[in-house]
Amino acid sequence: MDFNDSPEEAEFRRQVRAWLAENTSEFSAYDYDTMSDEEEVALCRRWVARKAEAGYAAMRLPRAFGGMDATPMQCVIYAQEEARYKLPFNYFGITLGMAVPTLLTFASEEYKAALLPRVLSGEHIWCQLFSEPSAGSDLANLRTRAEKEGEEWVINGQKVWTTGAHLADYGILVARSNPELPKHKGLTYFFLDMKSPGVEVRPITQIDGGAEFNEVYFSDVRIPDSQRLGEVCEGWKVAMTTLMFERQAAGEQSLGLIDFEDLFRTVLGIDLTDGPAIEDSQVREKLVDWYLIQEGLKYFGYRQLTALSAGRPPGPEASLGKLLEARGAQAAAGFATDLMGYEGIIKDPALAPCGGAHQSAVLQAPGIRIAGGTDEILRNTLAEKVLGLPPEARNDKALPFNQIM
């Protein structure tokens, strides 16, 4: 056991630090709390372009495409170092983490040459068009139709929970090309220009008032067959590859849903009837609960990084992180507001402790328990993929999709 960098890692970290020290000042000088989304997106485009010049924007890509053939450990080191600065929120997460590696694997050389540079210049943002109203946990249940007409595909249907669709220039899309095949077998994968006629994007307001997600409607949208990724009816396989890229990207950073420091600071600032909250054993118990999750997942992450740096791919056991954090975050937010008494209802950042972070957490926690895999799906994953328990009884896998109830 050794927490230090290897000599190579230390050298790489030194390079990253030097580069960041020279290149971040103009980006971290802004007040992001008061900036409009448009301003932040614009800044983010410039920041991606700057990173791309040095190969940091899409580090794992080959050098030919603007990356640096980085190892997973190098990605982690860069992420750790970048996290020391306050920088524009990453509007390119899906673009760089999911769309780009998928294109790189499945798109033609022409498209790669035409499209990847415009991502790395900060010009193009991509979105991922997977989820549908009837296809969340059960993604393969999607109903958006893709029908072949000559050398084009005609798309009709609806996607939902599409992060950043309102900003996106392009999207990756899975649709059902053959409803007579079983549900996982009749899907085909495409990419499309989001400005194509027939694409309509409507924002979804969340219960906390935020609107990061969208519904996307397709009415006779036409996609050339050349924009198909993978073979016809092999879309499920391609989609699984994309999700694997997502998991890799996620493995390199912690979720950070519970901020133990926020909780600790809040507790230290509160006096209860019997004295300071920190001397209250019930408060101590809850603090311990959250410390164990946050600190434990940090160490769990170190174990996964060690595996990653030894060349082992990130496995399904990482599901436990979100499971524990999401449940913990909801309990933590509830208790933190409880500690404030009636004032706990106030979410005004100027009045509430830690700028209303705990009230925001109350409102965001339910979404976190759902997005990216519900508690229930995560437990299924752990039980089936890690512990080897048998899958759910189901009768929809072999049936033709159009014969499922």
Binding site: S131, P133, S134, G136, S137, D138, N141, V160, W161, I204, T205, Q206, I207, G209, I270, D271, L272, T273, Q282, Q330, G334, T337, D338, L339, M340, G341, Y342, E343, G344, I345, I346, K347, D348, L351, Q359, V362, L363, P366, G367, R369, I370, A371, T374, D375, E376, R379, N380, E392, R394, N395, D396, K397, L399, I404, M405
Partner: protein, 369 residues
């Protein structure tokens, strides 16, 4: 032994349920949540015509003189429909404070107007930094005037009468303040539930009248309100359970209704168990409230905590069962989830009620010894 509401009471409750479903469906609550500032007062006045505010008020003060049992059942229905009117502020708290502590003249002057829906009252008790919970009240009454800051104060946007908890000559006392007084400054606060506005209330030399000293302490009103709020919470929890069941039956994943998965079934069984446990405590507390039984404070604290836990669980799992759709603004789920957290905090939070309950248990033990 008859631990059940009477047939008449149950029929009354069913009638109220039908009325509210018609008069204030969830779409109307959504309008309030979307920022319609006039809707709440409208519903308040419509409900006054239906006589809801009059339920437990004595007849000589303009009420129907039914009992607290009936008021509890009304509260359950209000909770079931997350009705966004100042019932807690005006009826369970301010009116109760007046009934418990007010002079005859004060009661006669104000209560009939609250009952008729003409006035909206609110109890302003909390102060910044948990001062009140820590046993000291900074707001002071002297020479007929109040000075201090109250935060948060419920429904201050529509209230025109405030019952203010203050300190006067070293004693905790309630004072009456007219909402239109020019020395009163109210400032809207952003809170968790957009359908239940709260404000900061600042008083400086605000004219006020004291309620007379009374044999019960000022806490009494919180115990009494806790019983009524518990019924609102349980009504909310029951609505969540019903909605979660309906949605689960309908929603299909992996070729099966999600209601057939144990993960969902067992979750809902736990919600059911928590709700029934809370309801059992609340039944007893409603009896103790109606009888003014000496176990009232213990019963109220038990019902308060059990109901808070049930609603928190039921409303969180309501969203979880609905999945992504349940996390959208258009879904009704957040009406319940936000209201649940607000109600959990509005009479002060669970740790305070845990301390109160254990105090009551210790007192009971000492009396038995």
């Amino acid at each position: 032994m008859n631990f059940e509401f009477s047939q008449e009471q149950i029929l009354l409750q069913e009638e109220i349920r039908r009325q509210i479903s018609g008069a204030c469906p969830l779409e109307r609550v959504m309008k309030v949540m979307d920022g319609d500032t006039t809707e709440r007062l409208k519903i308040w006045r419509e409900f006054a015509e239906l006589g809801y505010q009059a339920t437990a008020m004595p007849e000589d003060l303009g009420g129907y003189g039914l009992g607290y049992l009936e008021l509890c059942l009304l509260a359950q229905e209000l909770g079931r429909h997350v009705v966004p009117i100042p019932m807690i502020s005006s009826i369970y708290l301010a009116s109760e404070a007046l009934l418990l502590h007010g002079s005859e003249a004060q009661k006669e002057k104000y209560l009939p107007l609250i009952v008729s829906g003409e006035r909206v009252a609110s109890l302003a008790w909390s102060e910044p930094g948990r001062r009140v919970a820590n046993g000291n009240i900074a707001t002071r009454f002297a020479d007929g005037m109040l000075s201090g800051e109250k935060l948060p104060v419920a429904d201050a946007d529509i209230a025109d009468l405030f019952v203010v908890l203050a300190q006067s000559e070293g004693q905790s006392r309630f004072c009456l303040v007219d909402g239109s007084d020019s020395t009163l400054a109210t400032e809207h606060l952003a809170v968790i539930d957009e359908a239940w506005p709260h404000a900061r209330l600042q008083m400086s030399g605000t004219p006020a009248e004291l309620l007379p000293v009374n044999e019960v302490d000022v806490d009494e009103v919180f115990y009494r309100a806790a019983v009524l709020v518990a019924f609102e919470q349980i009504g909310g929890a029951q609505a969540c359970l019903r909605s979660a069941i309906d949605y689960a039956q309908e929603r299909v994943v992996f070729g099966r209704s999600i209601a057939s998965f144990q993960a969902i079934k067992h979750k809902l069984a736990d919600v059911y168990a928590a709700t029934e446990l809370a309801l059992s405590h609340a039944y007893y507390a409603s009896w103790a409230l109606q009888q003014n039984d000496k176990s009232l404070r213990r019963a109220a604290a038990g019902a308060r905590i059990a109901a808070t836990r049930a609603y928190e669980l039921a409303s969180a799992e309501l969203i979880q069962v609905h999945g992504g759709m349940g996390y959208t603004w258009e879904s009704h789920c957040h009406l319940f989830y936000k209201r649940s957290r607000m109600l959990a905090l509005a009479l002060d939070s669970e740790p305070t009620w845990q301390r109160r309950l254990v105090e009551q248990l210790c007192m009971q033990k000492e009396e038995a010894a």
